[in-house]
């Protein structure tokens, strides 16, 4: 009898301790996951606030406004990572310098093509940051919804995939209505490499940018 009791007494505290430890761990992990999602959302909210402040500042000329918006993008988007993702396995065929050149051209391309989307802004848009989701690789995807103003009648949903880089949450993909921009550019890059060879990749992007810059100056 005594031996049974003592065994039980021994087992009980140890299993209780294990259960408690497991619970604490789970709680800690849960809290960490929540913390990551919350941190990513806060970072995106900052980006939106900064962007709106510039868009609402009527004293800025168009060029100055675009320049500031570009600076915000540089602060909150992880261009090197986006470039790596867009290049995919073709990255191995480019030297470090070429990768850098591609990134610069790609950044310019995005700014030339997406920058003017901000011209449509009417100040009646409502931007809501929705739920965030922790992905299996620790990225966080945050939902955003734009309604009113220049947005379509049903509103538009844009998701942002974010990754922590030295404690800073940076955007690595923009996903309007579920269509990943990284995936879209990646398939274009793959196509250009397949059709014309990797040497033509930077050239194609460069020509496109030169063409665009010229037509922008013509206005």
């Amino acid at each position: 009898m005594t031996s049974t009791r003592s065994t039980r007494a021994k087992i009980f505290p140890s299993s209780a301790a294990a259960a408690l430890a497991a619970l604490l761990l789970a709680a800690a992990f849960g809290a960490r996951a929540d913390g990551e999602v919350a941190a990513a959302k806060v970072s995106l909210q900052h980006t939106v606030d900064e962007t709106l402040a510039i868009l609402n500042d009527k004293s800025l000329a168009r060029d100055a406004r675009l320049q500031r918006l570009e600076n915000i993008a540089l602060d909150h988007f992880d261009f090197p990572k986006m470039t790596q993702l867009v290049l995919g396995k073709n990255r191995a065929q480019l030297s470090e310098a070429e990768q850098h050149e591609f990134m610069e051209e790609f950044r310019q391309h995005l700014s030339l093509t997406y920058g003017k989307q901000f011209d449509k802004y009417t100040a009646n848009e409502k931007i809501e940051i929705g739920d965030g989701r922790l992905e299996s690789n620790k990225d966080v995807t945050v939902r955003m919804r734009i309604t009113g103003g220049s947005a379509p009648a049903d509103g538009v949903r844009i998701d942002y995939r974010m990754r922590a880089n030295a404690d800073k949450w940076l955007v690595i993909d923009v996903i309007p209505e579920g269509v990943s921009m990284v995936q879209n550019f990646r398939s274009q890059v793959q196509e250009i490499v397949t059709q014309k060879g990797v040497s033509q990749l930077i050239q194609t992007l460069h020509e496109k940018n030169a063409e665009r810059a010229q037509s922008a100056n013509a206005y």
């Binding site: 093509t113 269509v179 995936q183 398939s187 274009q188 397949t194």
Partner: protein, 265 residues
């Protein structure tokens, strides 16, 4: 509605890279055979597809649909164009009702029935959408290809055909005869419903509604054909999931940066 319009119009648009289709694949310096492209599985008919894309975009859209759509934009306010599209979409009711039944989702069929009943009467033959605005019965586009997808049939090769725009794969083409009968508002199979060429007005109106997105898409692309194809395939997958989050993340390797690639230099 916007995805449908965009998809239709994308099919009618320009390929600036037609020459690429016929270009020889690059050969490696040693003359060794170049490994097949990663997307050979999704787009084995690329030569044909690029040719059709060129016809749709650089001929039909450039000289016919595009100019007519721009004229249409000049003479109609945006509200007219939006409500005209809602009228045609309301006629897709048979498809929107039957397909969810085949997908084992009778609740969605109920939504489609409710939408049709309310929008056809209160919404003045579908021109307005009170079912969504006041009752929250949201529109969901359905077709045979999506049902095939829900049944687990893979999309098969990507396919571009002249005029028949939103057929993005062999699977969706197989569903076309059914859609032609059921999705009345999208179809060309009901001439007695549209004896005065209303389908032409519908198509030009859709092209006009997608004009801004098309322009942006063309400008932002490095290879418009590849960009449009990827847009089709991604939005089609979303339609089949009915906008739900994917249960598993098939694209996780999309976000994987393989560091070993750096070391190989």
């Amino acid at each position: 509605m916007t995805e449908r319009v965009t998809r239709l119009a994308l099919g009618l648009c320009a390929c600036a890279f037609f020459a690429c289709a016929t270009a020889q694949p690059p050969s490696s310096p040693e003359g060794a055979p170049v490994p097949p492209p990663a997307d050979a599985a999704t787009d084995p008919f690329q030569g044909f597809n690029r040719a059709m894309f060129w016809v749709n975009n650089s001929v039909l859209d450039r000289f016919f649909y595009g100019p007519l759509a721009h004229g249409w934009i000049c003479i109609t306010p945006l509200t007219v164009r939006v409500h005209m599209e809602q009228f045609f979409d309301n006629l897709n009711f048979p498809g929107y009702f039957v397909q969810p039944l085949l997908q084992g989702d009778p609740k969605q069929s109920g939504v489609a029935l409710g939408r049709f009943a309310i929008n056809t009467t209160v919404g003045l033959v579908g021109i307005f959408d009170p079912a969504n605005h006041y009752l929250g019965l949201a529109r969901r586009s359905e077709d045979m290809g999506q049902t095939f997808g829900v049944w687990g049939i893979p999309p098969g090769p990507y396919l571009v055909l002249p005029l028949l725009a939103p057929r993005t794969s062999v699977r969706d083409l197989a569903g076309f005869p059914v859609d032609c009968v059921l999705n009345v508002g999208d179809s060309y199979c009901w001439p007695w419903l549209a004896p005065y060429g209303e389908t032409m007005v519908r198509d030009i109106n859709r092209r006009a509604l997608a004009d801004a997105q098309l322009k942006a898409g063309r400008e932002a692309s490095l290879d418009w054909y590849a960009s449009a194809r990827d847009f089709y395939l991604q939005s089609r997958a979303i339609e089949i999931r009915n906008g739900e989050e994917p249960t598993e993340a098939p694209s996780d390797d999309l976000y994987q940066i393989d560091e070993s690639e750096n070391l190989s230099e």
